[in-house]
Amino acid sequence: MAKYLLLKHYRGAPASVNDVPMDQWTPEELSAHVQYMEDFAARLEGTGEFVDSQALSPEGTFVRYDGEGRSPVTDGPFAETKDLIAGWMVIDVETYERALELAGELSAAPGAGGKPIHEWLEVRPFLAAPPTITE
């Protein structure tokens, strides 16, 4: 098994095919979307492939060390930042192909007009623990 991060962006990914902001959907379309996401996670729990799912607030601040005895420097939020991560799902699957298949399904969540959003998700493999046998 290998773990993959399915990343969802507020900004920075190529535009979705069905690209309508959520507050322009109907309440029924919103319900259908939320239901789809819950069913998807429940199904992966059922197959033993679900690890974690979290959502992030859009607000963020950059922080860095500023030397001994000084408070860290903060900066931002930067309106022009290219990438803005909205949340993720972590899955633990047999193959890379399975990770792509699941990301494809997640991207098909219904949006405006009840049609799939075709949202671009980023699939990133986790770096694994080193193997014991190397030769």
Binding site: D23, W25, T26, P27, L30, V34, Q35, E38, A55, S57
Partner: protein, 381 residues
């Protein structure tokens, strides 16, 4: 196997060990070990005297641990040499435990964890699950908390206000896993109310009962939030409401008002209305005025603006809102609500979408996005 009984006995048994000379940290560890053994042994071999069994096993665990730790050898001799007081004489150990676990030197998160373990009798694993952190992290948080309070004398009187703050946090925050934190907070507050005659303990208990009563109506089957005005009031738990109102009334007659009694009074007025339209908003505004006077809390002022909007008209509500800092949590949501009622759906939709972006939880974000979507759909048609 009666887990509820085990959990109720936990603080009593810790108290008895402390009376016998164990320090709090060692007593608490020994009782956790005894609880784990009880869970293993009791199903096949239930004891006739569960409390006596727990005391005996926990004391043995304590002595084993003290013996294993050579640096503690001298104190162990001292402990074994002391006469053991009759556990029957012990009256207020549980109350002392509440004070110790909510000691002002602890951070709120540490006080919550320690209270749930030492007073609530939950295992570290259960507490970790309830707050979505790894078990090892929670174990560290608890042992650090125990080190922090190690110098505090057990029989020192504490401040009820700090205990109430901790119980309020347990009720109001945390994820619902296997452990029902809201139910656990009510159990612990009820137990505290039985031991400490204090108006604000009663006030907090009433507040919890009145809010817990609405729980079945607060979410739809799909998990989405239902605002108070739209809740199916037939789903409210009338038994909990009646108890909450009784507890609150008894507290109010003592005429020592505090913030929890004022909040409970507001909840009681909502509970008293058979429909949203029957709500006595004028009285609710008066209680918010009390709450603002008692706490000077900006959050209370924000909620007061909603009540003023209902009692004195939306323009008055928006005027009450105008003086408040827009950076306040949920400010945009309140503004959106008042603007919609005032007949300005365009502003309301914009504010709901803004509120959704800064929502602190997913259910709230979904709810606020839905409100924006509802208004935008109306505006299109």
């Amino acid at each position: 196997m009666d887990e509820a009984l085990l959990r109720t006995l936990t603080p009593t048994v810790i108290g008895i060990l402390v009376r016998r000379g164990a320090d709090f940290a060692a007593a608490e560890d020994a009782v956790q070990d005894a609880l784990v053994e009880a869970v293993r042994v009791w199903p096949d071999d239930p004891p006739r005297d569960p409390k006596g069994w727990l005391v005996a096993v926990a004391w043995r665990k304590f002595l084993d641990a003290a013996r294993a730790d050579t640096s503690r050898r001298r104190r162990e001799v001292l402990v074994e040499g002391e006469p053991m007081p009759d556990p029957g004489e012990v009256v207020d150990d549980t109350l002392q435990l509440y004070f110790l676990c909510a000691h002002p030197s602890l951070t709120p998160a540490s006080a919550v964890a320690l209270t749930l373990r030492a007073v609530g009798g939950l295992t570290t694993r259960q507490i970790a699950q309830a707050y979505l952190v790894p078990e090892a992290t929670m174990a560290q948080r608890i042992s650090r908390a125990k080190r922090t309070v190690s110098g505090v004398r057990f029989n020192q009187p504490g401040d009820v206000a700090t205990v109430l703050r901790v119980l309020y946090l347990v009720f109001n925050e945390g994820y619902s896993g296997d452990i029902d934190l809201a139910g656990e907070a009510i159990r612990l507050t009820r137990q505290l109310a039985a031991k400490a005659k204090h108006e604000e303990v009663a006030g907090l208990l009433a507040l919890m009962l009145l809010h817990h009563a609405r729980r079945p109506a607060r979410t739809r089957p799909d998990g989405s939030l239902v605002p108070l005005a739209e809740q199916d009031r037939s789903l409210w738990d009338t038994r909990l409401i009646a108890e909450g109102v009784d507890v609150l009334q008894a507290a109010l007659t003592r005429d020592r008002l505090g913030e929890f009694q004022a909040q409970a009074a507001i909840a009681a007025l909502h509970a008293d209305a058979r429909t949203a339209e029957e709500t006595d908003w004028v009285q609710i505004v008066e209680w918010y005025d009390e709450l603002v006077r008692l706490t000077d809390s900006p959050v209370a002022r924000l909620n007061r603006a909603v009540a003023v909007g209902e009692a004195d008209g939306l323009r008055a509500g928006l005027a009450a809102l105008a003086g408040l800092d827009p950076a306040l949590p949920r400010h945009a949501a309140v503004a959106a609500y008042l603007h919609e009622r005032d007949g300005d759906p365009v502003t309301a939709a914009r504010l709901y979408a803004e509120a959704a972006r800064s929502a602190p939880s997913l259910p709230e974000r979904d709810h606020l996005t839905r409100q924006a979507a509802r208004l935008n759909a109306q505006l299109r048609s």
